[in-house]
């Protein structure tokens, strides 16, 4: 009995081994290196496709920006200046003295095109004009960029229907220091003629409810 059992188990083992060997052979047969999957020619990376907007976003045009730029075109000076891509402190007058945007992570040429100073550049190296600066901003601020495309961020000019023209990011945000600064508000509403201004700026109630004040 023990001998018989031994020969049976050996038979099972042999069958399993043959099966595994066949599987390996099949896998080796079907496996091809990754490169050879696409044919004989090597992959040729093309120019990355430019962002073409969101599907369903209403048509728009952007208010031109270049007319409002004081020192534009930049090539008026930069065509005669040597190109120096090395990050350094720029003390010359037309350039912003500080670059709070990105808290020190940025250098001019992250957004400005080195080869053509009248252009901005995307991270892919593609040149875009100053009027399309929203494409530069949208690379990081994609949520705002999407809202802006659909009209939830930014501002539409003049009309609520018909041709849609919207302001560019840089109309409201200084690209070198984009956070909006606190400023003085317009005066508060006047009180009715003959009345004194309301005490405590019109706050009739205490800040805390009674049960919290009692503590």
């Amino acid at each position: 009995m023990p001998r018989m059992r031994k020969s049976a188990s050996a038979a099972v083992l042999t069958t399993a081994l043959v099966g595994v060997a066949a599987l390996i052979a099949f896998a080796q047969e079907s496996h091809r290196p990754l490169r050879s999957n696409g044919g004989d020619e090597l992959p040729a990376p093309t120019e990355p496709t430019a962002f073409a907007g969101y599907t369903g976003a209403p048509e728009f045009s952007v208010v031109p920006r270049t007319d409002a730029l004081t020192f534009y075109p930049c090539t008026a000076c930069h065509s005669s200046l040597p190109q120096n891509p090395r990050p350094r402190l720029l003390a010359a007058a037309p350039h912003p003295a500080a670059l709070p945007h990105g808290a020190g992570r940025f250098w001019c040429l992250d957004c400005h095109q080195l080869r053509d100073r009248d252009q901005l550049q995307l991270l892919s190296g593609t040149s875009v004009g100053f009027d399309a600066s929203h494409e530069v901003c949208g690379q990081c601020h994609f949520r705002q960029h999407k809202d802006w495309h659909f009209g939830a961020h930014g501002k539409r000019v003049a009309n609520w229907q018909g041709e849609r023209q919207i302001y560019n990011c840089t109309h409201c945000h200084d690209p070198h220091d984009p956070a909006t600064k606190p400023r003085q508000a317009n005066p508060p509403p006047p009180v009715r003629a003959g009345l004194e201004p309301m005490p405590r700026h019109g706050k009739a109630h205490d800040d805390k409810p009674r049960w919290e004040r009692a503590k």
Binding site: P58, R143, D147, F150, G151, A152, H153, G154, K155, R156, A158, N159, W160, Q161, G162, Y167, C172, T180, P182, R183, Q184, A185, N186, P187, P188, P189, P190, V191, R192, A193, P197, M198, H201, G202, K203, H205, D207
Partner: protein, 327 residues
Amino acid sequence: MTSQPPEGHDAAGKQEQGIDQYRRRFLVGLAKAGAAGGAVVASAAAVTSAPAQGAWGGSTLREMLGDFFQEQYTRMTPAEIEAALARIERKAKRKFGVDISCEDTPPLPGVVYGYALNISRCKGYRDCVDACVKENNLGRDSQVQYIRVLQMDNGTMNLERSEHYYDPATVPVEGKFYLPVQCMQCDNPPCVKACPVEATWQEPDGIVAIDYDWCIGCRYCMDACPYGARHFNWTEPQIPPDQLNRQTNYLGNRPRPKGVVEKCHFCTQRTRKGLQPACQDACPTGARIFGNLLDPNSEIRWVLANKKVFRLKEELGTEPKFWYFTD
């Protein structure tokens, strides 16, 4: 100054003619006679008083009677509206010395206006308030302002603890947010139900309009409005004539009499011509989004579909067409 109505005798003979019509004709005749008589008085008074302050407070008796018998806006015939607009223009000329144009702009077909306001963008600058006052010919020293910007503590939504007389050196103040409140143009407006004389009603484009000449100043609507959006002008609006907005509209920003209720009308004089309301135009942060709720491609529809929106006091069932949202 007794005068017989021109066709008074015939009218009295006809039984089928209503007494109202008879009375109206009598008064029109009286007005004509009064105008002729008033002209004599006016020419005499012009010697001593300023031309703007002639007889009848610068007006003729006929003009005053025209004001008195002016119908409610929705019941006026086109000719009567024309006459009313011309009277408004003449009155403004007398009062401010400038030529204004008052129009009756009809609502656009297929349009219901809606407003969305981004409270994470609003910084409390009150630029919208300033633009609204100038656009809508509100008195410069009166307390009437259609937009009320409330300063609220972060994380709270208690309107009673809001402050709209805030005046710090700079805004926004740390730990506060700003909630501008104006007329919500409710779809189920309680103010319209409260008005005892039908001086306020809902236009086909959703704007809750007021006929300032029909309002009796009872202020029931102010009590009915849960948003405090209606305002009573206690004083004659004081506007420097050179700052008067001359593009006016009957239901919108025309110079209004003292002692009636006013409110935001989504800048009828602008929006019915396709322009943005003045508050949207003035907002420096782009927090305000205005548009047509019936247009599925409009910006406001995208905001309503894709942003977290809420309405003030929604539980009251007033169905405001003014939404607030956050980024």
